[in-house]
């Protein structure tokens, strides 16, 4: 009788433990997926605002100082985001579906932050572009910042 009770207790406890572990694992997986999705949203926002500026640089849209300032200002805000909620450990390519984040983001965190700082600077400079030609010149710096970061910290498309 006593031993049956003990067995039941052990079973119940282990069941609870397994359930807790399972909950923790699925919770971690969910937050990882959400972090990757949020990063993609950030990149999409960066791409969108760069596109607004790019259309002006290419002559597809007319130069408008207010639009340039707004788009570049949003880019600046996006580049400045605190990455600690986004670039969670364990969310590299291969660890989470859809992620192309390279391990170097975590092994070389300072280098990674410096790349975002380059985009901050490039978008800040863009805010004061006075004509379409200046937007075109500024696009070189923004493109360079995006490209330099992707070269080092983004894995290949699968």
């Amino acid at each position: 009788m006593k031993s049956l009770k003990k067995q039941t207790l052990v079973l119940t406890l282990s069941g609870a433990l397994i359930a807790t572990a399972g909950y923790a694992a699925s919770h971690a997986a969910t937050s990882s997926n959400k972090a990757v999705a949020a990063r993609h949203a950030q990149m999409q926002m960066i791409g969108y605002h760069t596109g607004v500026l790019g259309a002006i640089a290419k002559g597809e849209a007319e130069f408008d100082a207010a639009t340039v300032k707004a788009a570049a200002g949003n880019l600046h805000a996006l580049a400045k985001m605190d990455g600690s909620t986004l670039w969670l450990e364990g969310t590299a390519q291969g660890e989470v579906d859809g992620s192309r984040a390279k391990a170097e983001i975590w092994t070389d965190a300072a280098g990674f932050a410096a790349k975002f700082a380059d985009l901050e600077k490039a978008s800040m400079d863009m805010m004061n572009a006075g004509d379409a030609a200046a937007v075109g010149a500024g696009m070189g710096a923004i493109g360079g910042a995006c490209k330099a970061c992707h070269e080092t910290y983004r894995g290949p498309k699968n």
């Binding site: 791409g47 290419k58 493109g143 070269e151």
Partner: protein, 284 residues
């Protein structure tokens, strides 16, 4: 016997032209643009070099292939490890004919089949510019190539078969397209990656720029003929300048390096390459 003799004759490396460059004046600044268009840094900078370090052409980058692994050599002006002791005619033969100063064929991992189109003045300017770069004493790494591909003489046969002297895009075109052809088929050697190769590593000119497997094994290098690539000329120019695709994603992989090089060229040259890409035969 006659056949063997003929073969030996046909596979002989091209002789040196000791008078090469006579009467031409070197302009190192113009050479910097040839250097950028040629993409020399992309292969010859030390692996992982960033910023100004990329001007040090110490070599060492590995290129895996079906024939073995090639290592980019040191082409910095160091007199022992690099090309500091080379003559202009020797340099010209190396770059445009794929023959070393010692008279040996180079492996076509070095894109001399494209560089053969380089105009003499551009060779002279390039040579002058490269002498202004920092010297580096790192010795070149030996290629890791097995039999029979380690018989250099056989590369003479490869050249006979695959080193075609004519441009792929023939016929009359605007001066802009002609300039683009010179840049794309010659200096920038786009086809080296964007055109598929046959079993012997020769480019399949009937599939010019129609895309190819990525030598890294990951993904495919895209078809950039009008049969597939629907970007406008201004999209292409913007891509060559900033690295942005029409969707504002940025160039990745080797193409990011290419964009860094093309971004240094005059706008008219980027426009010329875009015009050329619109003029090549469309391959679906």
């Amino acid at each position: 016997m006659i056949g063997a003799g003929l073969g030996w004759f046909l596979t002989a490396p091209d002789p040196l032209d000791p008078a090469f460059g006579a009467g031409l004046t070197a302009d190192p600044e113009a050479g910097a643009l040839v250097f950028a268009a040629g993409g020399c840094v992309s292969c010859h900078a030390a692996p992982g070099a960033e910023g100004d370090e990329k001007q040090v052409l110490a070599g060492g980058l590995p290129f895996a292939s079906d024939f073995g692994t090639f290592y980019a050599p040191n082409i910095s002006p160091d007199p022992n490890a690099g090309i500091g002791a080379w003559s202009l005619p020797g340099f010209a033969r190396a770059v445009t004919r794929g023959v070393s100063p010692e008279g040996q064929h180079y492996y076509p991992a070095f894109p001399y089949a494209a560089y053969q189109h380089m105009q003499d003045q551009d060779v002279v300017n390039l040579f002058a510019y490269m002498q202004t770069l920092p010297a580096d004493p790192t010795p070149s790494k030996a290629h890791d190539v097995g039999f029979p591909f380690n018989i250099r003489r056989s590369l003479g046969g490869w050249k006979l078969l695959f080193m075609k002297e004519d441009f792929v895009l023939s016929g009359n075109h605007s001066p802009e397209v002609m300039r683009g052809r010179y840049l794309a088929e010659g200096l920038a050697h786009c086809a080296e990656c964007h055109t598929p190769r046959n079993a012997l590593g020769g480019l399949d000119r009937s599939q010019w720029l129609a895309g190819a497997p990525n030598p890294s094994g990951k993904g495919r290098i895209p078809n950039i003929t009008p049969g597939k690539l629907d970007w406008s000329e201004s999209d292409l120019v913007a891509y060559f300048t900033t690295g942005f695709t029409p969707d504002y994603d940025s160039a990745g992989g080797e193409m990011a390096e290419v964009v860094s090089n093309l971004a240094q060229l005059p706008q008219s040259d980027r426009e010329a390459i875009a015009a050329y890409l619109k003029a090549v035969p469309a391959i679906p």
